[in-house]
């Protein structure tokens, strides 16, 4: 049996694996994750991982019929805090809430008591009954460790009320036990609409646009009430279910057969390159980085050659070879036994957005749905134009100037600087449902950070060169708060309620933030959370250098001149972009 400390370290390592600086950390412990972690912990002998984990936690954290909270410090320097496994237990309890359980606190603690073998009574178990939720200190220490590791936390308090502190574990468990089977049923029922190889955007749009149609309370809530910052994580989790379906086998019955965490295919979108000197546009194959769990280097086969899949510092894959936007290609992948192909879906349109981590780069690529107020580039076949013009006529969508034909790709046009203008899409009958669904906004408000001077790390700005905060909202009243993450009980550094005369976007100066970690929270006038952004401020003298993701130099004889250094040339000494 693995010890509590072994589980503690293994869980932290498992969920941290593959995260790049600025990524959001989710401690999404469920049975599948525990089974996989258990496999790594006990290579030689079989392990009933879930049972082993539960016993290890009980042995460490239940003493004399009471919960004894673990330390928040690491056992040794460089290790995660000792509370990770216990917090994982709390998340597992949230995961085990039935899909139709409402979020009453008592239902949550019933599940937790089951895991801790402290059944017989209801409500908070002894040891967690002190006022102010003693387990919150563990969550705060966990979040601090995440921030110091360069990631962004996702666990947070809920609004004032009975679920204020149970929101911490609830926020980590996106899909509960039973949700995945129900979703799989929904996907199978919708096969005639979605097919078997819809891509990430299509599935995400389908999920969020039919929020009220789901039969289970939890999934409905997830689809309707997600804040903008959690859309991607939810879409990832939902797509993982879809991408893991074995259509030739009967539906999974929850016995662990399904491998929800590992879709068999990696998806690709487009990366647009525009040569301003010639006015020429090309599109490159752009693998999407949904998979963080891949432990080996991947290679993709193309024209008889094996091309490595490089991941950049910000987590995005490096674009590959030029392709036709028609799509409909699949390329074998080597290096991982479960992910075997890179699929470039056939589509009649592509929504391409700017790089949010480098908005000055000027590049557009398949990077997920645009945020409210964000302009994007729509590449589409000519037959999409009628639908687009209807949306424009109904003040739902607009773009800059006239659409531009793409000369090298007959029948395709670009609509540049598109922007969704309104949330009133219900009254419009779509002519092209897929295009309509993907353009339809998912949120009513969003936070953007514009300007300032970012470092090479995600969402990190230099002291003295902070961005402006831009709120885009379809509601006239909103509240914006800025808090120091390390001091959740302190007064917010900014707390403004804004009422606009018209739907607008409003630019706000951030207060003079010094080095540290901050969270910006946007809520509707009634307090309902809408979006959240984390921002890190660093000083110049703490600025870390970064290895360049692409290296330029000038060949000179048998050398390459890089700056002031003459480097002996290799065969492929010169890399230009990708």
């Amino acid at each position: 049996m693995a010890s509590y400390f072994q589980w503690n370290e293994a869980i932290a390592e498992y969920f941290a694996y593959g995260l790049t600086p600025g990524d959001t950390f989710y401690l999404s412990v469920d049975e599948e994750a525990l089974i996989e972690i258990g496999t790594r912990l006990s290579q030689d002998e079989p392990l009933d991982a879930v049972q082993d984990f539960e016993m290890a936690v009980r042995e460490k954290c239940v003493v004399g019929g009471q919960v004894r909270l673990p330390q928040t410090t690491p056992e040794r320097t460089g290790e995660p805090p000792q509370c990770v496994a216990f917090l994982g237990t709390m998340v597992l309890a949230a995961h085990r809430m039935a899909p139709d359980d409402d979020i009453a606190e008592i239902n949550y603690f019933t599940r937790l008591r089951e895991i801790l073998d402290m059944t017989g009574e209801r409500g908070r178990p002894p040891g967690l009954t002190a006022p102010g939720a003693p387990e919150e200190g563990l969550w705060l220490a966990f979040n601090t460790w995440i921030l110091h590791s360069g990631w962004q936390p996702s666990a947070e308090r809920g609004p004032d009320g009975p679920m204020k502190f149970t929101n911490y574990p609830m926020s980590q468990s996106l899909l509960r036990a039973g949700d995945k089977e129900k979703l799989e049923r929904d996907f199978r029922d919708a096969e005639s609409d979605l097919g078997r190889d819809s891509d990430y955007e299509r599935i995400g749009a389908w999920f969020f646009n039919r929020a009220t149609a789901f039969s289970t309370h939890h999934i409905r809530t997830l689809a309707q009430e997600a804040t903008t910052d959690r859309y991607e994580a939810i879409a990832d989790a939902v797509y993982n279910v879809y991408g893991s379906i074995d259509w030739d086998r009967p539906i999974s019955n929850g016995d662990g057969d399904a491998d929800w965490r590992h879709p068999r295919r990696l998806l690709a979108g487009l990366y647009r390159e525009f040569d301003p000197l010639f006015g020429r546009t090309t599109y490159h194959l752009f693998p999407r980085g949904q998979l963080r769990e891949t432990r080996t280097d991947l290679n993709v086969m193309h024209n008889g050659k094996s091309e490595p899949l490089h991941r950049e510092q910000d987590g995005q894959f490096r674009p590959l070879w030029p392709v036709h936007p028609n799509g409909g290609e699949t390329y074998p992948i080597t290096g991982d036994s479960r992910t075997t192909e890179l699929h470039f879906p056939a589509r009649s349109f592509w929504i391409l957005t700017r790089d949010r981590h480098d908005d000055a780069s000027g590049t557009f690529a398949s990077r997920g749905a645009p945020r409210l107020g964000e302009t994007f580039l729509l590449l589409c076949r000519e037959e999409c134009q009628e639908q687009l013009h209807i949306l424009q006529d109904e003040d739902l969508l607009n773009w800059d100037d006239e659409p531009v034909e793409v000369p090298d790709y007959g029948g395709w046009v670009e609509y540049r600087e598109c922007m969704v203008l309104s949330a009133s899409w219900e009254g419009i009958i779509p002519q092209m449902p897929e295009l309509f669904d993907e353009l339809r906004p998912r949120s009513r408000a969003s936070i953007s950070l514009r300007g300032g001077l970012k470092t090479g790390r995600r969402d990190t700005w230099l002291e003295g060169y902070l961005p402006h905060l831009l709120v885009t909202s379809l509601d006239p009243t909103w509240r914006i708060r800025v808090r120091d993450v390390s001091r959740p009980d302190a007064e917010p550094l900014l707390d403004d309620t804004v009422t606009a005369d018209a739907m607008a976007d409003a630019m706000t100066e951030l207060p003079g933030l010094t080095t540290g970690d901050y969270v910006i929270e946007l809520a509707k006038g009634d307090g309902h959370p809408m979006d959240r952004r984390y921002i890190k401020v660093v000083s110049w003298d703490a600025l870390q250098s970064t290895e360049p993701s692409m290296i330029f130099g000038t060949p000179v004889g048998d050398y390459t001149l890089q700056g002031g250094l003459l480097v002996v040339r290799q065969d492929s000494a010169r890399e230009e972009g990708f």
């Binding site: 302009t375 219900e426 250098s545 230009e576």
Partner: protein
């Protein structure tokens, strides 16, 4: 619940009518059911107004029909229209839309930062101060933290840090950082990467040297453990300061490497020996596979400026015209950037490269004599500013001292310090430059 439109034919000023409608809808709180209004834009006396409604009610919701009638607007509630029917009444381009729950459209396209190599616009250095060097140093630290990026991101950062105020300034900053060995550029200048950290030694005193490439405060502290660092401001404060390792402290390659800095040796001399002669350099430049001259407005560099030119053209796959430097601008409103190229008539090629390099080739093609003067006493090389060398060869000069050129006593000449005669001779010979001694 399909959107429908109730229409009315009315008179008056359209903006006044719109304001009446807006007032009624907003005050009633019905904006969620009445999301927009359309007006006939080029209205004369009478014009159509269309009220968009998202409601299952058969009439205007909220009983607002009465309110509209009282304000003089008689919407036909018996014959609601589908959205597509409006087009049969008013042309799309003649419709103005007002949304009650709409964001204001705003393009986020940024201005094209232009060709990063362009130098023909007569840019002159601005008044600068020692603080300018500090700003450059901050820019270098930022570039070091980013690692690599686009020309656009460079331009934006240089403006935020106050290094540049416009694209011309930014281009010049980009070139200077490349000359000093801090960054490298893609062939077309569209991307940059930070150069490796290195100690480049002086050709006239190889026991000491200066830092090039990536640097941050943290890196400087590490290197500072080797001994005192000396900062020298650039001429006219036109770049990040040169940081020199004190020659009094002995060090070797391993000691330097332990701090993550590669000992590059005397790069200027080595580079000068490796560089090809001018013809070979020209042959190494990337060329365009095809230039359809009919698509461009063409100008030729002549007499210090670009002049319209109609003597360069393509016919049956053959290019005709004089070898020289040309600027090509695509016809039409979506022309993109102007393209500066060197046309090599004898080789039938259009070459890309750094702007001063292409101009140098143009002077060579016209057999304009290019000269330089070596001042042995001062150890300086003087070059006419109007005959500036290609970037790669000029870098061999700047890497000899770690300093950008200043202006000589005659301001039409650039002065490069710490250039030994042999270095000057080697480079001048390769570029067919007449070198005289002073």
């Amino acid at each position: 619940m399909e959107r429908r439109y109730f229409f009315a034919l009315t008179v008056g000023r359209p903006q006044d009518v719109l304001q009446r409608i807006v007032g009624i809808v907003v005050n009633s709180g019905m904006a969620s059911l009445i999301p927009l209004v359309k007006l006939e834009r080029k209205a004369r006396r009478e014009f159509y107004v269309f009220l968009g409604v998202d409601s299952d009610e058969s009439h205007i919701p909220g009983g607002l029909g009465d309110a509209f009638r009282q304000s003089g607007l008689w919407f036909d509630e018996d014959h609601p229209l589908e959205p597509s029917q409006i087009a049969s009444m008013v042309q799309r381009q003649d419709i103005e839309i007002h949304g009650f729950h709409s964001l204001q459209y705003r393009s986020q396209a940024s201005e094209d930062p232009g060709d990063p190599f362009e130098q023909s616009d007569g840019w002159q250095p601005r008044q600068a101060s020692a603080e300018s060097c500090s700003r450059f140093e901050y820019l270098l630290h930022w570039l070091s933290a980013r690692g690599a990026g686009t020309w656009e991101s460079f331009k934006q950062a240089s403006e935020i840090l106050g290094v540049s105020v416009d694209r011309q300034d930014a281009r010049s900053a980009l070139r200077r950082l490349s000359l000093l060995g801090h960054i490298d550029l893609a062939d077309d200048g569209s991307r940059w990467s930070i150069s490796p950290r290195a100690l480049v030694r002086f050709p006239d005193n190889p026991s000491s040297g200066f830092l090039v490439g990536q640097r941050t405060e943290i890196l400087l502290r590490q290197v500072g453990e080797l001994g005192p660092l000396t900062q020298t401001l650039q001429p006219y404060y036109s770049g990040p300061p040169r940081i020199e390792l004190d020659s009094g402290v002995p060090r070797d390659a391993d000691c330097v490497a332990a701090r993550g800095v590669v000992d590059a040796g005397v790069t200027s001399t080595r580079l000068a020996d490796l560089l090809p002669d001018l013809d070979a350099w020209k042959d190494s430049l990337p060329s365009l596979s095809h230039v359809n001259t009919g698509l461009y407005d063409i100008e030729q560099w002549h007499g210090g400026d670009f002049q319209p030119c109609d003597t360069v053209y393509e016919q049956d796959g053959v290019y005709y015209g004089e070898s020289g430097m040309y600027r090509l601008s695509l016809h039409g409103t979506r022309a993109g950037r102007a393209l500066t190229l060197f046309f090599d008539e004898s080789a039938q090629r259009w070459l890309r490269g750094d702007w001063y390099g292409l101009r140098f080739l143009a002077m060579e093609a016209r057999q304009d004599g290019v000269e330089a003067i070596h001042d042995s006493n001062a150890g300086e090389l003087l070059i006419p500013a109007a005959r500036r060398w290609p970037l790669l060869y000029e870098r061999a000069l700047t890497l000899a001292s770690g300093l950008l050129p200043g202006r000589a006593a005659n301001p039409d000449w650039l002065s490069y310090p710490r250039i030994p005669l042999n270095l000057a001779s080697t480079l001048c010979r390769k570029l067919n430059v007449d070198l005289s001694r002073e």
